[in-house]
Every structure is written in C-alpha cells, then in structure tokens.
Amino acid sequence: MRTFLPALVMVLASAVHAAPEAQALLAASDAIRNPEKPFGLTTTLIEYRNGKQQETTSLAVYSRSERGSGQFRSLLRFLAPARDTGKLMLKSGNDLWFHDPANQATIRISPQQRLLGQAANGDVVTVNLAGDYSARLAGEEDITDGDRQPRRAWRLELAARAPDVTYHRIEYWLDRSNNRPIKARFYAQSGSLLKTAYYRRYQSQLGVERPTETVIIDGLDPNWVTVMRFADYAWRDVPESWLQRDYLPRFKPE
C-alpha cells in the first residue's frame, strides 16, 4: 500500500494536469488562422533581400473548407504587380492549377512549381495543418513571439501523413494560454529547414483574434525575408462549383 498510494496520487495528479491532446491543439490553432465559413481576404507580400525591399505582391484570396476533409480550397488572384494582375491560382491540396488570362492557358502545376512565385507563401496561411499532419506534443517552452513578448508555449511536432507534401515536418509553437500560433519551422524531407514563420499582430477579424501579419524567413537564405499582411477579411460566398479548372477562365471578382 505504501508504494501503491504515491503511484495513485501521481496518476491522479497527471490526470488533473494532463497535457492536452496534440491534435486537438493543432485543430484549435487552425481555427484561429482560418475562419470556419467561406471567406475572403487580401494578402500583401513584401519581399526583402539583404535588408532591401524587393517586389511587392498583392493577392485576393477566396477560401472555403472542403466538406468532409476540412481541408481548405483556395482561389488566389493577383492584384499586383501590374504584370501579374488577373492571374489565378487554384489550390485544393496538391491539386494546383494556374490560369493566365493573357493567354487563356490553364495548366496543372506541381507543388514544387507553385513555390516559384511569391504566391507560394500565401498558402502557408490558408492551410489546415490538422488535416495533413499528425501532431505530437514535444513539450513546453518559453519563447519570444513575433512581437518580442515572452510567451509560454506548447511545442508541437507535426509529421506529414502523406509523402507528397512540400513540408515533410513542422515544428509549431502555440501560445499555452489560448492556442494562438506563435511560430513555425517548416522542414523538407531531407531535413533541411525551408521556412521559419512568425505569426504576429493579432487583431479581431471575423469575430476571432487572428494574426494579421506573418513574417517568413527563408531556411536556406536567412537574408530572404517575406512579410505577409492580411487585410479586408470578409465572409464571402465561394461556391464549390467555382473551385475547379473549368471555371478559372470565367472567374470575375466582385
């Protein structure tokens, strides 16, 4: 009994202070980044190389979660620079289509090809990680967030469920008090760091405090920094029938 009682106490204590289920934490953080109903927003991507501002890209994003899988399907429309105005990218998982209104060409592109443009960073945001990754709670850490504030954070290790994803593994830090994403590191299958992202400047958007800025640092070249700003959050009617190749030449934004 002398040995049983402390063991029982420990079991009960751990039950009371049980670490939350990692997958549930991940889903909760997805809900903070992504509204649950079809929505639209504008993303401005400002690129810096060696501290010098480069080209700025603006995209209108229309997004909705797919019935069943919960995975986001997004339509991205270029607003700037002027040479790219009107170009479209449709993304539904690894099903990616690019449409150029100048030549009416609609072509399938690979996830690797998608990384050619700045738009690649756009879908780091509108993606439901809980759908594609298995989460494991790797511990608690004190970290500095993107606004330079100290935060007590859960550290999640995300492993890709399918082999054909761009980011094979993700380290993900969530605010322990409210599950807000603070920081993420995206890794390739080779183990090399592809991107580091800081989610910051939380503001109330569509009824929830959401990050309105993401700072992305290239893993291979830390002097390559992309700042993404999100504005014009709005509930949007994005019919399922629009999110397909054959509608791209007809897409007309409101």
């Binding site: 504008t42 993303t43 401005t44 400002i46 810096y48 190389r49 501290g51 080209e55 603006s58 209108a60 607003l79 700037a80 620079p81 002027a82 040479r83 105005t85 009107g86 690894n94 099903d95 209104p101 100048a102 030549n103 009416q104 060409a105 072509i107 399938r108 690979s110 996830p111 690797q112 090809q113 990384l115 050619l116 443009g117 993107g146 330079r148 054909d164 994803v165 761009t166 580091t196 800081y198 910051r200 700072v215 640092i217 830390p222 002097n223 700042v227 700003r229 504005a231 009617d237 019919p239 399922e240 029938s241 629009w242 397909q244 190749r245 054959d246 509608y247 007809r250 007309k252 934004p253």
Partner: protein
C-alpha cells in the same frame, strides 16, 4: 575564452545565428515604409512595349530589321449585377527598315457575359477560347486556326496571348467538381482581311463550328477534360489530361482525332477525309532552385509524312512538276495559319528559370526539333523585371536545309530587345 568552453560555443553557434537572423527579420517587418494596405482591385490592365529587332537573312531571303510599338489593354468590368463586359485589344505599330510601316490592330475579345446564378454562365461576342494541356502544340485547341494576326515573339506563350477570338454564343453549366460548356460559332465571312484595322472575321469565323466540353473530377489523379468539336464535314473528339506524378513532376497528354482531310489535301482544295488523330505527350519537372524543364513529343497524322514532305520539297527543287511547285508554299502557309505541325512529328524541350542566380532575372528558352527532316529551332529569352519596366532580350536561331521546316525561315537568326511598361 577558456578552450574547454569552445565546444559549447561551436555547438550553440548555429542556434545563436538563427535567433539573430529571426530578430533582424522581425525588425525589417517593423519598418514603417513597408506598405500596410493592399492595392485596390481594378477591372483593367494595360501595358506598352517598345521593341527593336534585327535579323540575319537566309541566303536570298528578305528579313528586314524592325521596330515596334505595341499598346495592349484589357477591360473586364461589371455592367450590372450578373452582367459583365470584356474588351481586349492590342495595337502593334510596325516599321521595317527602309521598306514599310504598318499598324495592325487585334481585337482579341469583345463580349458580354451573363451569369444568372453561380453555376450558369452565358457569353455572346468575340471570345478567345483555348483548350489544351500541351505546351508547344495543342491539337484540342480547335479555335487556334486563323487566330494569329501579329506575331511579335516566337515564345509559345506570346503566340497564345496575341491572338483574336472567334465570334460565338457560349454557355457553361457548373457543378461541384464538373462542368459542361457548349458553344456555337457561326460563319460570318469568307476570307481573311489584310486591312490592319479589320475585324478579320474571315479568319476567325470562316465556317459554322460548334464545341462541347465536359469534365468531371473522378479522383485526385483522374479528372480529364473531354471535347467534341464539329465543322462542316468533320467531327473530332478530344481529351486533355494532366496528372501529378510527384511533388515536382506533372505529366500531361492531349489527344484529338476524327474524320478530317489531311493538311495537304486542304492546301490543294481536295478532300481525302479519313480518321486522323493528333496528340501531344509531355512532362514538366521543377527543381528546388526555381528551374522548370518540360519535354514534349508532338504528333499530327494530318500533317505530311517523310515521303510526302520530300515530294513537296522536290517539287520546288525541280520546278513545276505536276504543276504543283506552289503546293509547298500553300501547304506551309496553311500550316502556319492553322498553327498545325508542319510535318508529322516534333520534339520540344522548354526551360524557364525564375530568379536565375539573381533576383528579378528570368531566363527561358526552348529547342524544337522536327523529327521528320531533322531541322531545329532554338529560342532564348532573358527578362529583367524592373520596378518600372521589364527589359527583355530574345534570340531566335533556325537550323536546317533551305526547304526544311525550320531552315526555310527567312531569317537564320533574329534578335529582339523590348522594353515593357505595365500600367
């Protein structure tokens, strides 16, 4: 520092560097000069391009140097809820060294669209309809015939940009994962016009034509697009299918076939209709350093085979046998107008490299080989994306015997320098 602590420093150095670079990146994002708001949505786009080209003529051919000013504008606006107006036009002002100057206007699109609900669309007017999974040759692009009016670049993408649509009535019905499109394009004129400001309906609407296009997504890898096309005396079926083979590899196939005359019979005004098919099969592979490479095999059974091609060439070499020395010229002209393959088989390698070693510099190029007569063409382009304008340098090289597919081009080499400003 004590040597015994050196290992600790070495161990922590990468982490310290990462933290420093993260802090520097966050400081950059704090800069007040970075734009905070998105640009407003607008319903037009336009650009102007100033270009100069020089050519090295083939022996005995004429290929004058040229200068060009192009104005290109597109308006896509909402007239009323559910009603849309699309106007797309391009004006090319050409000047050829010491010979002539000319303005060519291309009204690419001018149509009114009506969308009574989210799943139904009806368009009426001149519409640029384009289908095809292929990169350099598109057998299912049935409305490409007569579409080219002013060729400003050998780039396959530019050839698709500077083309005029056909006048048609088009309807589309969409559902989740699928769509059905039907269109009818009537005969409006008999022959193409040389007038630079003509609507050129004789080129785009020479006969009554119709097209049905259906697609239904069945699963992640099988969602082809099926086509059925008809014109007087010919009905053709077609399919476009592209599939993701790996994280970096996309494969595609495009096929069209049906009862139709050969290209040579068309050129001669004869009818030898039989079942003939054309197809393109290829793949695009993208590296982690932004280089994309495509390889494509192209075949058209309507085009001349090796024996027919030699016979056509021999007619020119030997004079007027069969009274058909002009067959070669007529055949080539028709192949060009229809954007068809000149001979039965071709191969194309295409590469594009974004931010090629330097941010803002894009390189592109292709190598096309005629597999029937072994002539080939190569094209290279360097584009510098500037803040106010793009600077583009292009080089085109044709190689082959005098009457071969590519060797017969008036210029063996062409260079072009262009400055493009986007409004």
């Amino acid at each position: 520092m004590a040597p015994r602590h050196l290992w600790l420093v070495l161990l922590l150095a990468p982490a310290a560097h990462a933290i420093e670079s993260d802090a520097a990146a966050l400081q950059l994002a704090d800069l007040p000069d970075a734009p905070a708001a998105a640009v407003p949505t607008r319903d037009w786009r336009a650009h102007a391009e100033l270009a100069a080209g020089i050519a090295r003529p083939r022996d005995g051919a004429q290929a004058p140097d040229s200068a060009r000013l192009s104005l290109d504008a597109v308006l896509d606006t909402t007239l009323a809820p559910g009603w849309r107006l699309v106007l797309s036009d391009r004006l090319d002002g050409w000047a050829w060294q010491g010979r002539a100057d000319r303005a060519i206007n291309t009204l690419r699109e001018a149509y009114v669209g009506w969308q009574p609900d989210a799943s139904t669309v009806v368009d009426l007017g001149r519409v640029n309809v384009r289908y095809g999974a292929g990169l350099g040759y598109n057998p299912t692009d049935f409305f490409k015939a007569g579409a080219l009016r002013s060729v400003t670049s050998a780039d396959p993408q530019a050839l698709r940009e500077n083309r005029q649509g056909s006048v048609m009535l088009r309807g589309q019905r969409l559902w989740q994962g699928g769509a059905l499109t039907a269109l009818w394009s009537p005969e409006l004129a008999d022959s193409p016009s040389d007038d630079g400001f003509d609507l050129d309906l004789g080129a785009t609407n020479p006969v009554d034509r119709w097209l049905l296009v259906a697609s239904q997504r069945l699963n992640d890898w099988f969602d082809p697009q099926w086509l059925l096309y008809g014109e007087p005396g010919s009905v053709q079926a077609g399919v476009n299918w592209s599939v993701l083979l790996s994280d970096a590899l996309v494969g595609y196939v495009e096929w069209a076939g049906g009862n139709q005359p050969s290209l040579l019979a068309r050129a001669r005004g004869e009818d030898d209709s039989a079942f003939r098919a054309a197809y393109t099969v290829g793949a695009t592979w993208t590296t982690s350093f932004k280089l994309s490479v495509s390889a494509e095999y192209q075949r058209d059974n309507s085009a001349v085979d090796a024996d027919e091609w030699k016979a056509l060439q021999n007619d020119v070499r030997l004079g007027t046998q069969r009274g058909s020395a002009d067959d070669y010229a007529r055949y080539r002209q028709l192949a060009g107008t229809r954007q068809a393959l000149t001979t039965r088989e071709g191969l194309m390698l295409y590469a594009s490299w974004q931010d090629a070693g330097v941010a803002g510099l894009d390189l592109a190029g292709y190598w096309r080989r005629d597999l029937v007569d072994a002539s080939w063409q190569s094209w290279l382009q360097a584009r510098w994306r500037g803040r106010w304008a793009d600077l583009t340098a292009q080089w085109l090289y044709n190689h082959g015997t005098a009457l071969s597919n590519y060797g017969a081009a008036p210029a063996t080499q062409r260079w072009q320098l262009a400055l493009t400003h986007y409004f």
